[in-house]
């Protein structure tokens, strides 16, 4: 694999939110790479993603995005796409307005917005719901709208929080195929968190394991079961039971 430029770096990152702590988080993400974090509910997956987006200032360490501390970059200039688990679509806007929101904020022309929204809607097969409001959509439709909205601005980094957890396996697979195809076209790096091993192995290049707010390691997906893991990660992977 050719050497790729670094996009994101966590350096000894630590953060306390209420009673929960993320600690000793260090890893790097290269451009166009897909990295997945596996962990049980409450392992700190969402907090890790939000930290990658720069929503919080760290207690220790730092998060560098394109060489700059991410929380120091104004939120609207980070060029990061974020898909929350509940999709967080703007409820008062139509699907069309939701998808085109990022382009409107970039003050693109009306014609360009219309054309790119149509293109994105065709890609995700949601052209028939463009004039509906999010509250009238199914979970799968909402997810495709949220993905289209996140990708239309061509972000350098896409953060996905349990992207397929609320979908049935068939819909999830269909959307993940679409996402993989489009991601390659847009040259976008992805971090996604999940508790689903199949998703992690199918979609990512490297996999990290989070347990109790601690990053137990990041390995190429082929080495997931052959690597040395601390007991909490090994328990999650079910390695002890296998041997």
């Amino acid at each position: 694999m050719a050497e790729r430029e670094e996009l994101l770096r966590f350096e000894n990152f630590g953060l306390t939110r209420g009673a929960f702590q993320l600690r000793d988080i260090s890893f790097t993400l290269c451009r166009e790479e897909v990295l997945c974090f596996l962990g049980k509910t409450g392992a700190g997956k969402t907090l890790l993603l939000e930290s990658a987006a720069g929503f919080y200032s760290p207690d220790t360490g730092r998060v560098l995005y394109q060489g700059t501390e991410v929380s120091a970059i104004p939120l609207h200039r980070r060029n990061i796409g974020y898909l929350y688990q509940d999709y967080s679509l703007f409820p008062k806007m139509t699907v069309r307005a939701n998808i085109g929101y990022g382009l409107r904020m970039q003050r693109r022309s009306r014609e360009e917005i219309r054309a790119r929204v149509r293109e994105m809607a065709e890609w995700f097969e949601i052209g028939h719901i463009l004039d509906q409001h999010p509250g009238t959509l199914s979970g799968g439709e909402q997810q495709r709208v949220a993905l289209a909205r996140a990708l239309i601005t061509r972000p350098s980094l896409l953060l996905l929080d349990e992207p397929f957890s609320a979908l049935d396996p068939r819909t999830g697979r269909k959307i993940s195929d679409k996402l993989t195809e489009l991601r390659k076209e847009l040259h976008c790096a992805v971090i996604f968190v999940t508790h689903n091993f199949r998703e992690a192995e199918e979609l990512s290049e490297r996999i990290g394991i989070l347990a109790g707010g601690k990053l137990c390691g990041v390995v190429p997906k082929e080495e997931l079961y052959s690597s040395e893991w601390p007991p909490e990660a090994a328990a999650l992977l079910g390695i002890e039971e296998k041997t």
């Binding site: 609207h76 200039r77 008062k92 509250g135």
Partner: protein, 272 residues
Amino acid sequence: MSWPNKPKGGPGLFFLCCLLLALITLVFVGGNLFIIIFRGLQSLPASIRQAETLFAVGLSVRSACISTLLCFLLALPTAWLLTRPGLPLRGVAEVILELTMSLPYIVLGLSLLILFSSPFGKSLKAAGFPVVFSRNGIILAQLMVNLPFAIKLCVTALRGVDDKLEKVAGLLGASPGRRFFTVLLPCCRNALISAVILVWARALGEFGATLMLVGVTRMKTETLPGSIFLNVSTNDLNAALASAFILLLLTAVSLGVDALFRHLGKGQSRYG
């Protein structure tokens, strides 16, 4: 009619006690409305043609509209700031607002009277903006009384919006101002409309601070509550009841408008 969780063998003693107390409460509260509606309706035809009543209605509605507009121009940015995470001295600001809200309005009027009777107030008067004993004072009194209340309503409305929406909008390239106008405001529009109507109705009925700052002078600073006060003072109960009825009517209309907006705001739901 069916009662939820109805116990076997008829309603219990506790239920009957609550029912009795609720009936007494409703009769007690509703009795006021009954008196105002029926006595006020009888007096209304004669009073409504009087220039004094029309003046009071006009002044009340006009001053309530202006003070409500000013109130929200100040309350919304303040509330937005108070809902930002990590804001220093937020606690101090909240204590100031809570304290002001819990003060009797006549005390607020007194502080306004002292402020605008000072050299500052006199220089304002010299510059063509008199406050004490003038109609400007009515607006200022209503503003002072309603501002903390309006800020609290706006804070509640803004906090009701999922903060993830703002974060997503920010990552999509929206600056703080555009996030406010394109995401926050539309999401809490109904709550804000309710807040505006409530504040307007409160401004319409404001009396304590207005009395202290501008007094009540017939056909000069006579609002609807002021008109009730003056008419009771001169033992003209019929005119007072007519003004009370008009106040009740205006408040009922504002509540109706609020309900209409709530109804229109529903929908856009897959299962609703």
